[in-house]
C-alpha cells in the first residue's frame, strides 16, 4: 500500500509513537498549562456572525413585561445594573469583558443587502465590491502564515469576501471543524505527488511559458507561487489548529457539542497560530414565525460558545490582542406579528464587542422600552444611535488600523476604509 501523504492532522498528531511534537503543539500545550501567550502578537478579530438577524429583544436588549417584550425575561449580568435576556445566562456572567452597543442602525432591511452592509461597512454599490473586515485586516499588514489568514468557519450564504482587494483576500472556507479541512489531502503517496508536481513544472508549465509573455509567472499567473504555498499549507503543522479534537473533553463541552461551538474553539486556536480574522456563522435567527422558539433555540447554541470563547481568550491573555464581535445583519421588529414572529428591523439593534481596544463593562445606546406605534421616524426612539459605518470605524480603530486611510480602488476612486466615526464611548 502507498505510503499515503501525511497531510492530515490525524497523521501528524494522532498516531502516537511516530509523532513529532510541533512548535505549535508545544505552544498550545504550554498555553494550556500556564495561560501565557505572546505579548507581541498582532491584533486579530473573531467575528461571530448571527445569520438571519437576531432579535435584540431576545438577546442583548430585552424589554420584558411590556407591549414589545414578548416572552423573554431579563437577568442581571456581571455589569452592575445591566440586564440581558434570560436566554443567555452564561454570557451574562462574562459581560464585564464586553462593550454592548444597543443602538446600531442601517438602511437595509433585506438580508443580502444588509449582510453586505454590515460585513463591509458600505451599502451595495453597482460600481464597486467592498472588502469585508477580515480582508481589510489582512490587507493592512504583510504578515504571512502557512495557512490562510482569513478564514470562514461554517460559512453561511454570504461568506466574507476580498472585494476590490481581490480574491486573494477572500475568506478560506471550512465547514464543521470536526471534519477535515477541505482540499488539503493529496490522497496519494508523497513520492507520487512529487512526481506529478515535477512533471507539471519541469515539462508542461515550461512548455506553456515558451514564447509567451516575458516573466509570465511573476507578472501574470503566480501559478507556481500559489502551488508552492498550497503545498506548504498541505504539510503545515499549523493545520492542526483546525483540529479541535486536540482539546480536552471539558473544553469541547464548554463550547458546546455542535459545529458553532467547535467553530468558536477552532477560531481561538487559529488566532493563536497567526490567523488574523476568523468568521464563525450561526444561523437560525430569522424568526418571522414563532419568534421566541427560534431565538431560544439559537441562543442555546450561542450562549455556551460565546461565554467559553470569552473565558478562554481572557484566560490566555488573548483578549488584549483579539477583538470579538458578535452580531448580525439587523435586528427584529419591536412588534410581534400575527404568526408570533418578529420581522426585520434595522432601526436599532445590538452588537457585542470584546477584546483589544474595547472598553470593558460598558453599554452604549438604548432603545425605547415602549415606542409609540405610529412613530414616523423609528430612530427617534433611540438614544446615541450609531450607524453600521460607525461600527466599522470602531472595529478598525480597535484593531489599530487607520479607518480613514484611502485605498485606491480598481476603478481609480480613492475610498476610505470606513466612512463612519469610531464610537468613542466604547474604545478603551
Amino acid at each position: 500500500m502507498d505510503n499515503l501523504m501525511a497531510f492530515s492532522r490525524r497523521t501528524l498528531f494522532g498516531s502516537g509513537s511516530a509523532v513529532v511534537m510541533s512548535s505549535l503543539a508545544r505552544r498550545l500545550a504550554i498555553a494550556d498549562q500556564t495561560g501565557e501567550t505572546d505579548s507581541a502578537r498582532p491584533k486579530s478579530v473573531i467575528l461571530l456572525w448571527m445569520e438571519g438577524g437576531p432579535s435584540q429583544l431576545e438577546t442583548f436588549d430585552p424589554h420584558p413585561g411590556g407591549r414589545i417584550g414578548g416572552d423573554v425575561k431579563a437577568i442581571d449580568t456581571s455589569i452592575k445594573g445591566v440586564q440581558i435576556s434570560d436566554l443567555l445566562p452564561r454570557t451574562a456572567e462574562q459581560m464585564h469583558l464586553t462593550s454592548l452597543v444597543r443602538s446600531v442602525t442601517s438602511k437595509e432591511g433585506d438580508h443580502a443587502r444588509a449582510v453586505y452592509n454590515v460585513k463591509t461597512g458600505y451599502r451595495l454599490d453597482p460600481t464597486l465590491r467592498h472588502p469585508s473586515i477580515g480582508a481589510i485586516v489582512c490587507h493592512a499588514d504583510d504578515g504571512v502564515a502557512d495557512i490562510p489568514r482569513h478564514i470562514s468557519i461554517v460559512p453561511g450564504q454570504h461568506p466574507s469576501r476580498g472585494g476590490y482587494l481581490g480574491p486573494a483576500y477572500d475568506a478560506f472556507k471550512i465547514n464543521d471543524p470536526a471534519g477535515p479541512v477541505p482540499n488539503v489531502r493529496g490522497r496519494i503517496s508523497k513520492e507520487r505527488y512529487d512526481r506529478r508536481v515535477s512533471d507539471l513544472y519541469e515539462l508542461v508549465e515550461k512548455e506553456f511559458r515558451r514564447g509567451r509573455l516575458v516573466d509570465l509567472e511573476k507578472r501574470r499567473t503566480l501559478h507556481q507561487t500559489a502551488t508552492n504555498a498550497a503545498l506548504r499549507m498541505m504539510s503545515s503543522e499549523q493545520l492542526t489548529a483546525f483540529d479541535v479534537s486536540q482539546e480536552p473533553k471539558g473544553e469541547l463541552e464548554a463550547f458546546g457539542d455542535h459545529r458553532f461551538g467547535r467553530g468558536c474553539l477552532a477560531a481561538s486556536r487559529l488566532i493563536e497560530v497567526g490567523v488574523r480574522c476568523v468568521e464563525v456563522t450561526l444561523g437560525g435567527w430569522d424568526s418571522h414565525i414563532t419568534n421566541h422558539t427560534s431565538q431560544q433555540s439559537a441562543c442555546e447554541t450561542l450562549d455556551p460558545a460565546l461565554s467559553a470563547l470569552l473565558t478562554r481568550l481572557n484566560e490566555r491573555d488573548l483578549l488584549d490582542s483579539t477583538l470579538v464581535v458578535c452580531g448580525g445583519e439587523f435586528g427584529r421588529t419591536p412588534t410581534i406579528n400575527p404568526a408570533e414572529g418578529r420581522d426585520h428591523w434595522p432601526h436599532g439593534f445590538s452588537t457585542l464587542l470584546a477584546g483589544c481596544g474595547i472598553r470593558r463593562g460598558t453599554v452604549y445606546g438604548a432603545t425605547a422600552p415602549d415606542p409609540p406605534r405610529d412613530r414616523e421616524d423609528p430612530l427617534d426612539d433611540l438614544s446615541d444611535a450609531v450607524t453600521v459605518a460607525d461600527l466599522h470605524a470602531t472595529i478598525l480603530t480597535a484593531l489599530g488600523i487607520d479607518y480613514q486611510e484611502e485605498i485606491i480602488t480598481p476603478v481609480g476612486r480613492p475610498l476610505m476604509r470606513s466612512e463612519g466615526e469610531p464610537i468613542a464611548g466604547i474604545l478603551s
Binding site: P126, N183, R196, R212
Partner: protein
C-alpha cells in the same frame, strides 16, 4: 403444455422487464436522443459578407502596430482558435468528439464550421444568457429570488436563440411592462424592487443603464457633480464634467415605471423629485440624456423615448458599449481598461469603431458581430511569438492576451475534459446533474467573481488547493468505465502514443510536443501500473496554467 406456456410467459415478462431496465440505464448514463440532424444539414457559413469589415479591423490593428513599432505574432493554429471560440461562446473547451469531427474537414473550414455550430448550440444561448444576466441585473439575490432570475435568464437565452437584434432587446428591457411571471424581461426593472419598497428604483436603473447600455460610469454623480475629472459628458468634441443633474435626469426616465400588484409594471407619468447637494429644497427633475440630446424624441412615454435614444443609429457611444461587452466576452477581458467605462472624451479605438459602424449598419446583428470578432486578427493571432512578448504586445493585439478563465469556465473545462462527447442538454441526466452540482460547488469554492467578470487577478492558494485535491479533479482522474474519458482512453487507445495524445486533446485541446509525448509514453511503458500513470498525466494537465488560462 400449460407449464411451457407459463415458462414462456414468465421468460417474456422478465425479458421485457430487463429491456426496460436496460433502456432506463442507457437513458441515465448516455441519453437517448441522437444529435440533432440539423447539425449535418446546417449550411457552411461563408465569410464573404463580413470580409470587408474584418479587413478594416485588421488594417487598423496593423496601423497601430506599425505606429508602435511592434511586430505581430503569427496566426494561431486552428485548434487553439477553436478552443478560444468554445470558451467564449459555451464556457468550456472542446470535447474530443468535437475535435475529431472538425479534423474530418479541410483545415481552412474548421474555424468557420465550429463557430457556426456553436452559434446554433443551446449551450451558447444558455451560457451567454447567464453572462448577460449578470451584467443586466447583477448577481445579488436579495428579493430578486432565484426563480425570477431564472425566468429572466431563460428569456435572454431565447433571445440569443432567435438572434434577436440587440437594439430590440434593449428596447424590450427598458420599456418592459407586465407581470414578472408573464413578461420575464420586466425583471430588468423588478430586480431593483428591494431597494425602493416594492417599486422600480430609478436610481439603480440609471446606474445600471449608464454602465450596461452607454458604457459610462456615472454612479458617483448620484451624490455629487464630478470634481475629480473622472466623468466627462456632453459631445466628444466638446466634453464637459459630469453633473449631479445628469444622473438624476437619466433616473427620471424610469420614474414613469409604475407598479401595481395586479398589472405589474405599467407606464405612467414621470414623477421624480430630488434634493441636490447643497440645496435645501426638493425639486422636480425632468428626464434628460447626458449627451446628444438631439437624438432624443420629444414625444412618447419616457422609457420609450430613452430606449429610442439609446438604440438610435447615431448614438455611437451606445453601440460602442455593446461592442465593448461582446469583445470582453470573446477575449475574457475588455478591449480597454474596463468593459463599462468608455469615456466620451477619449479617442475611440479604431477597431472598435469599425465594429460599431458595422454593427449599426448590420441592424445590430449580434451573431454577425461575434463572427466579425472571431474572424479578426486580434482574435486569431497566437499568444506566443519568436520575439519577447510584453504587456504592450498584448495591449496592441500583437499577440492574443493571456487571460485567466472565470471559475465557471475552469469547472466547465474540467468536466468537459472528463467526457469524450460534448456535455450539453443531450448528455445523460446523470452527467447533466453532475455538471450542474459540480460547477456550482466548484465556483463556490474557487470564488465567484460576481459581476466583476473581467478582472485579471492571479490564481490564489485556495484555487490551487481545489485544483490539486478537489472533488472535480478526483472525479476526472478516477477511471470510471461508464462516464469517464480517462477510462475510455485506457480501454480503447490503440497504443501509448495514442493514449497520451488523446489525453492531451481531452484536457488541453492540443497535441503534446515531441518532448512531452516521449516523456509520458516512456513513463507509461516503464510504469508497473499504467492506470495510475494515466491518472497522473491527467492530474498534471488539469493543474496546468494551460487549462486555467485562455491563450
Amino acid at each position: 403444455m400449460p407449464n411451457a406456456k407459463s415458462i414462456f410467459l414468465n421468460t417474456l415478462r422478465w425479458c421485457w422487464f430487463a429491456l426496460l431496465v436496460l433502456i432506463a440505464f442507457g437513458y441515465l448514463v448516455s441519453g437517448l436522443s441522437e444529435p440533432s440532424s440539423d447539425d449535418e444539414a446546417r449550411p457552411r457559413i461563408s465569410n464573404d459578407d463580413i470580409a470587408a469589415t474584418v479587413n478594416l479591423v485588421d488594417q487598423h490593428r496593423l496601423a497601430s502596430l506599425t505606429a508602435a513599432g511592434l511586430e505581430s505574432a503569427p496566426v494561431a493554429d486552428w485548434m487553439t482558435i477553436c478552443r478560444r471560440l468554445s470558451l467564449a461562446l459555451v464556457g468550456n473547451q472542446m470535447s474530443l468528439e468535437e475535435i475529431r469531427e472538425l479534423q474530418r474537414l479541410p483545415e481552412s473550414e474548421r474555424e468557420s464550421v465550429h463557430l457556426a455550430n456553436l452559434l446554433n448550440d443551446t449551450r451558447f444561448h444558455n451560457y451567454w444568457a447567464e453572462r448577460w444576466t449578470r451584467f443586466l441585473v447583477g448577481t445579488d439575490e436579495g428579493q430578486f429570488i432565484v426563480f425570477r432570475r431564472r425566468r429572466f435568464r431563460l428569456w435572454l437565452a431565447e433571445m440569443f436563440s432567435q438572434n434577436r437584434p440587440y437594439d430590440q432587446m434593449v428596447r424590450d428591457l427598458i420599456t418592459a411592462e407586465g407581470l414578472w411571471t408573464d413578461k420575464p424581461q420586466v425583471n430588468f426593472l423588478t430586480a431593483t424592487f428591494d431597494s425602493n419598497n416594492g417599486q422600480v428604483d430609478p436610481v439603480r436603473l440609471a446606474a445600471r443603464t449608464s454602465r450596461a447600455f452607454l458604457g459610462l460610469r456615472i454612479d458617483c454623480l448620484q451624490c455629487h457633480s464630478d470634481f475629480l475629472g473622472n466623468v466627462s459628458l456632453g459631445d466628444a468634441s466638446d466634453s464637459r464634467g459630469g453633473l449631479q443633474t445628469d444622473f438624476h435626469q437619466l433616473a427620471a426616465f424610469f420614474s414613469s415605471a409604475k407598479t401595481s400588484e395586479l398589472q405589474g409594471v405599467r407606464s405612467g407619468e414621470v414623477d421624480y423629485q430630488y434634493t441636490y447637494l447643497d440645496e435645501t429644497e426638493e425639486v422636480s427633475v425632468e428626464p434628460a440624456v447626458p449627451y446628444s440630446p438631439e437624438l432624443l424624441p420629444t414625444d412618447g412615454d419616457a422609457r420609450s423615448r430613452l430606449a429610442t435614444w439609446i438604440t438610435h443609429r447615431d448614438n455611437r457611444q451606445a453601440a460602442l458599449a455593446a461592442i465593448s461587452h461582446v469583445w470582453a466576452l470573446m477575449f475574457g477581458r475588455p478591449a480597454g481598461d474596463a468593459v463599462d467605462n468608455l469615456p466620451v472624451d477619449q479617442q475611440t479605438d479604431p477597431m472598435l469603431g469599425a465594429l460599431a459602424d458595422d454593427f449599426v449598419a448590420g441592424k445590430f446583428n449580434m451573431r454577425r458581430l461575434i463572427r466579425l470578432i472571431a474572424r479578426s486578427a486580434p482574435f486569431r493571432v497566437d499568444s506566443r511569438a519568436e520575439f519577447a512578448v510584453t504587456d504592450e504586445h498584448e495591449r496592441q493585439h500583437a499577440v492574443f492576451p493571456l487571460v485567466r478563465l472565470r471559475p465557471e469556465q475552469v469547472a466547465g473545462s474540467m468536466i468537459q475534459a472528463s467526457r469524450i462527447k460534448k456535455t450539453d442538454r443531450e448528455s445523460s441526466l446523470i452527467l447533466q446533474l453532475q455538471t450542474l452540482i459540480g460547477t456550482s460547488e466548484f465556483v463556490s469554492q474557487y470564488g465567484d467573481i460576481g459581476e466583476d467578470e473581467f478582472t485579471t487577478d492571479a490564481v490564489t492558494v485556495t484555487q490551487r488547493l481545489l485544483m490539486m485535491n478537489g472533488g472535480i479533479t478526483k472525479d476526472v482522474i478516477n477511471p470510471d468505465p461508464v462516464l469517464n474519458s480517462l477510462a475510455h482512453i485506457g480501454m480503447f487507445a490503440a497504443s501509448d502514443d495514442q493514449a497520451v495524445q488523446s489525453l492531451y486533446l481531452c484536457v488541453v485541446n492540443r497535441y503534446p510536443t515531441e518532448s512531452e509525448q516521449k516523456h509520458f509514453v516512456d513513463r507509461l511503458r516503464e510504469s508497473p501500473n499504467r492506470k495510475k500513470t494515466r491518472e497522473d498525466l491527467t492530474w498534471v494537465l488539469l493543474n496546468s496554467s494551460e487549462l486555467a488560462w485562455n491563450h
